[in-house]
């Protein structure tokens, strides 16, 4: 098993089209003041995606190969900085290796890697959008 994992040119999953905006709105709500129709601050897609990935990676549930295979990808890719900002890249790759140790993953396979990353993100979004999860996270 190769121990170097490169997170670049990762394709976006189709989940982005629907789930991203919902999560963004939910996150922004935490900064809304009463009577403010719209938050004064702006949350970037970049930030939403990273939150989704971190949430996905925080799950200890076993990863299922079949589910990963079902992840649909788009032709567009994420900006690489999504994974490299603030030196997060080693943390992400370490966690990916940790969670996918039981599976035989070819980390050099970009499609497989993209599917795994999006699988994590999508699971993260679902988790964050589930009732009270975000609230628990913010006020923890």
């Amino acid at each position: 098993m190769k121990n170097k994992l490169q997170l670049n040119t990762i394709k976006q999953g189709v989940w982005v089209d629907t789930q991203q905006a919902i999560l963004k709105e939910k996150l922004a709500a935490f900064f809304l003041l009463p009577d403010d129709p719209q938050p004064a601050i702006r949350i970037t897609n970049h930030l939403v995606n990273r939150m989704a990935l971190i949430a996905g990676l925080s799950s200890t549930m076993p990863r299922e190969e079949a589910a990963i295979k079902q992840v649909n990808l788009k032709s567009t890719t994420f900006f690489d900085t999504l994974f490299y900002k603030d030196g997060y890249q080693p943390l992400i790759t370490a966690l990916l290796k940790l969670h996918y140790q039981p599976l035989s993953v070819d980390w050099d396979n970009k499609v497989e890697l993209s599917k795994i990353v999006n699988y994590e993100m999508e699971r993260g979004v679902v988790y964050l959008l589930e009732e009270n999860h975000l609230k628990e996270l913010f006020v923890a």
Binding site: M1, R50, I54, S58, G87, Y88, A94, F138, A140
Partner: protein, 655 residues
Amino acid sequence: MTIERLVLKNFKTYTNLDIDLSIEKNRPIILIGGTNGGGKTTFFEAVHAALYGLNIHKEWQFLEFVNVANKQKLEQQKIILTIHFTNTSEGQQQEYQLQRIYLTHEGSVREHVQCKVGGHTFQYGPETPSQEKIKAEREISKVIQASLPESLSRYFLFDAMEAGSLLRREQLQRVIKDNVETVMGFDRYLQLERAAAIALGAYKQQQIKQEYNKKAYEKWLKKQADYQQKIVQEEQKLKEALDYASLHEQTKTALEDGKNKDTLLKEKVNYTNRKLQRIADKEEAYSINCVQFIQDLDTHIGLPMLVKQLSPMLHTVLEKQQAPVEDSLKRTRIKTIAQKLLNLLAQRKLLKQPISVDELLPSLLPPSKSNTETLLLTPEERIALKRLLELPKQTAYSRIAQQQKELQQNRVEQEEQLRYLNLYQSKLSKEDFSLLDTYKANNSIILACRNNIRKLEQDLKELNTKMEAFEQEKIAQPDEKQQELQQLKTFFERFALQLLERKKENIEKKMKQGLNQMLVAYKGMIDRVELPNDLKNLTFKLFHKNGNEISLNQLNTASKQVVVQCLLKALHEHGNYHPPVIIDTVMGVLDKQSRATMLEYFLPKLAHQTILLSSDSEIQPSEDFTKIEPYVAKTYTLQRDIEKQATSLAKGYFN
């Protein structure tokens, strides 16, 4: 003086008004009705303007007076005011026609005045040669002075609502003084007394023998005349300043009141604004905090989530990552020991057959883990995991949440503060308080004039004492002529006082009678009205039958109106002027009972001609009108067409 006819063209609401105001014997009242905004006050203004002229100079002022319904070009528009009146002079009745025309020319206003009297016509306009103009102006002025001087017009042409204001301390004294001196003609006697004093002084000077003493006395006489003149000038100045103060007293009080309120309101506005600013600052700080927090949302929220969820797992992984190293160390040391042991056994020839360390080691060490079971992490990844575990599990959102809670309360407070702010701001007046400075300056003039008069009178008194001493020493025993002149001066003085005494008695009697009828609050309770004997200290007092004085200041507004109207009536009756009385807002603030008394006793005998401008709620067409009908010569109703913005005249009183 009797107003016979008034013709107005393009004056405010009147496009064309021609009204017959002539009276009949025993029917002195002309009653003109009009609803609010119907043109009653404008009619009143028009009489004043026809007599004394409009004080307008600029085109914009002209536009305030010209009828708005007029569609002519501005240059072609004219305001024409014509008043026809009669006046009795030396037993002869004379007819007058005074016309004033106003028009604009290159931004300024031009006035043409024409007065027709007994076959003569006096007129002037902007193009009249100055000599001719001065002459015409003088003649027209004479007519007005003989009929009703403008300075006295306010006692004859007045708004009953404002009448009570004449009772103010300074003003009341002035009302009586003006009336006694001018309306009753006392100023003539005072002038004669002064003339006699001058003649006496001049004669005394002639009696002085030594030339240098004569010159010294002459100097004193001049000084005496100078003091007297200065006193008259200061008194005139004081009169004007008092007039101004009295005229603007209400405005001044309102402005002062308004300014105090405004100052307080402004302080409240500032305080509220500061509170709102503090809230706005907090919101801004919150916004900045949010932006900073969101920039690192993954660090603040995401990483604690990872720590919380994965902490046990990561500890195990990192421990396992440590184990292979330890195993390797153990292996090396066991190998070294085994080698040394094998070497020792070989030296002592204890080995049956040679054996290598590698052959021996598997039996000494536990079996090593396979590669598939080992997680291969780079050193950077291991460091990243270690660092993650060192992070706090709690998020930093609590500070934002706390701020949110505070701001939520602040928002409620902010709404309340904004309501207050709007309330305070709506209450702030839009007045120009710089006018108060003018009033303040006017008050300084009043004080200065009083001081100057006091000082001049003191100086005059000292000079008189000095002159008297000098006269006793230097002037020989008074001869017959000097005695005559001395007597003449005293005669006019005494004559004026005696005349005043007699008139005073009549005025007191008339006022008592009037007030006992009209002053509802003290009906039949006025014991006496007192006017002083001194021409210089003219005021009056009312006394109750129980003996106590009735304070004029304590009277209510309606009673003040009645007192002033009774006083004016009494003064008019004994005066030398007999102009018509025009009353706007006739009933002012009077209640039903006072109105009834006013209608029955006051108005019918007020003057030889009384023009009343009334709404249907003041003199009611049915009930009230019947009371005065026998005294009414003519009735009219002003009808305003709100679409055409013009007032027309109909005969009858609210038919």
